[in-house]
Each structure stands twice: as C-alpha cells, then as structure tokens.
C-alpha cells in the first residue's frame, strides 16, 4: 500500500468526527479511481457509480472501524466491497424491484454478488488473465467477443461474421461459458 493511502487510512481512525471529516479528502483522492472502476463492473453507468460511491464514502466516514486492519490495496477493496459497497449496491435498484419478475435474492445476486476468487483480482491481474484466456479461444469466438467489446451491436457482429443474430448470441454465450472455465483454471494454476 502506498504511503499516501496508509496516511489517509490512519486519519480515518480518529475518534473526533470533524478530524475524520477532514481526513476524508486525502482518502477520497487516494481511492476514488480504484473504487469507481470497481463499481463500474457492476453498474456500467457512471452516474449511478458516483451516487453509490458518495454514500459509500459517507458510510466509511461514519463507521470506519472495518478498515482498521487493512494492510494492502486488495484487502481494502475487499473490505470496502463487503461492508460498505454491497449494501449500497443492493439498494440501487430496490425502488424498481416491486415491478420486476426477478426475486429479491436473484436481483441481489445479479447486482451485488458474493465474492469469488476472480472477483477480487486487481485491474492489472484481470487484464492479464483475460488477455491470456482470450488468446486461447478460437479465432471466431475471440472475434465475436472483441467486436462486442468494441461496442458493436449483435446485428453488426452478425454482419461482420456473416451469420445470423441468433447464431451470434449463441456463440457469445458459449464463448463466455468457455471463458469462465478458462479463468477458473487460470486462477487455480496461480
């Protein structure tokens, strides 16, 4: 953990709420990018990420005890996710839940899932793992995923691969399942 973040965390442990409030600024500066990128994984929407993060920081200010024993960045992210973010993430779509045909539990699992081994990978580790696993896919499978990641619609991907939209959807689904298996194996190897 870098010195700036360690100092910021120390400041958060102050008993005085006003001092703790002042300590929030360096803490937010040190962690903002990390947290917002992590939240983006679940929401895919900048505005919602900001709203959730605002509440997360206020919760941290109010009860920072969970962060007392944090020693590194990965542990920080894990603790913040488990004790501060997840609760807020689960509330994001609570307001529309009464109109949904998805049970409360399924909605929770979709928006704020339990942590898996893969879930806690850092950005660099994740990039590395994905790069390696994507490299092991068949050319057509890789192309479908890459085109999708470039922002193309299913129709555009189908045109590019000279196939139907239904076939593209099936190809993506199968490829994603394959990726899941490969990523799990990758983690086990590590």
């Amino acid at each position: 953990m870098n010195r700036r973040l360690r100092k910021a965390l120390e400041g958060l442990m102050d008993q005085d709420i006003e001092r703790r409030r002042r300590a929030m600024e360096p803490f937010v500066r040190a962690t903002f990018e990390l947290f917002i990128r992590y939240l983006y994984r679940y929401l895919g929407n900048e505005t919602e990420c900001e709203d959730v993060l605002e509440d997360v920081y206020a919760d941290i200010w109010e009860s920072p005890e969970r962060l007392r024993n944090v020693t590194n960045e990965k542990m920080l992210l894990k603790t913040v996710y488990l004790y501060y973010m997840r609760k807020r993430l689960r509330e994001v779509y609570r307001r529309i839940n009464r109109y949904l045909y998805l049970s409360q539990n399924d909605l929770k699992n979709l928006i704020a899932p339990e942590l898996g081994i893969l879930e806690m990978m850092s950005g660099v580790e994740l990039h590395d793992a994905l790069h390696k696993t994507l490299g092991r896919l068949k050319a057509r499978e890789r192309r479908a995923i890459e085109l999708w990641m470039d922002g193309m619609s299913n129709r555009a991907v189908a045109n590019e691969l000279r196939t139907t939209i239904g076939a593209v959807k099936m190809l993506k689904f199968r490829t994603i399942l394959k990726l899941k298996k490969m990523l799990s194996d990758y983690c086990c190897e590590d």
Binding site: M24, N45, E46, Y99, N154, K172, I176
Partner: protein, 112 residues
C-alpha cells in the same frame, strides 16, 4: 415489439449489452415472469454473468468518464454535513413493502 420469451443465451447477451450500455434497469424491467424463473434456475446464466462483469470491467471501466475528484470530494463533504446535521445514523433499509402489502390486503378485504 420486444421479445418476451427469450432463451437463456439471449437473456445473457441482453444482460451483457445492458451492462455495457449502462442500462441495467431497462433490462430488469424487460424481464417477464417466465424469463425471471429461467434466470433463477440457470447455473449457466450466473456463471456467464460473472464473466460478463469482468469483461465490462476490463473493456469499459477505463473508458468511463469519471468526474473531477475535487468536485466529487465536495459532494462527499456535503453528504457528511447533511448526516451531521441530522445527527443520526444513515438511512437504514426500511421494510416498507410489508406495510404496503398489508394495506393492499386490507383494501381487498370485504366487510363482514
């Protein structure tokens, strides 16, 4: 007209698209009762959804337009100030739905 009886692979692709485009609420609202059940019972969907989140994180999180940190800090500070003013813990999850359903039941009850 939206497809109302999507297979699991279509649901997954639509979820991935919604996550990529930041329109999860639209995806959630588009689900029918049958599709909701299909998602709940499909192990493959949950496995794939996990990978979709990683892809979203790796492919798009860097491209996301994040706000100015300075401005964001003032938002956080304002939030803290408002909590200080209220002088009570943050809003807890209220189980309002229970009260609602009771009212609904009462409404439908016929007088004896």
């Amino acid at each position: 007209m939206p497809d109302t009886n999507r297979e699991i692979q279509e649901l997954l692709v639509d979820y991935a698209g919604a996550l990529r485009d930041g329109s999860i609420p639209a995806f959630l609202k588009s689900l029918t009762r049958q599709e909701g059940r299909r998602i709940a019972s499909s192990r493959e969907f949950w496995d794939s959804a996990e990978v979709v989140r990683y892809l979203n994180s790796a492919g798009f999180a860097d491209k996301a337009v994040t706000p100015n940190v300075g401005l964001f800090i003032s938002r956080v500070d304002a939030k803290i100030a408002s909590r200080l003013k209220k002088g009570r813990p943050p809003s807890r999850v209220k189980h309002g739905t229970r009260a609602k359903s009771v009212t609904k039941t009462q409404k439908t009850e016929k007088p004896v």
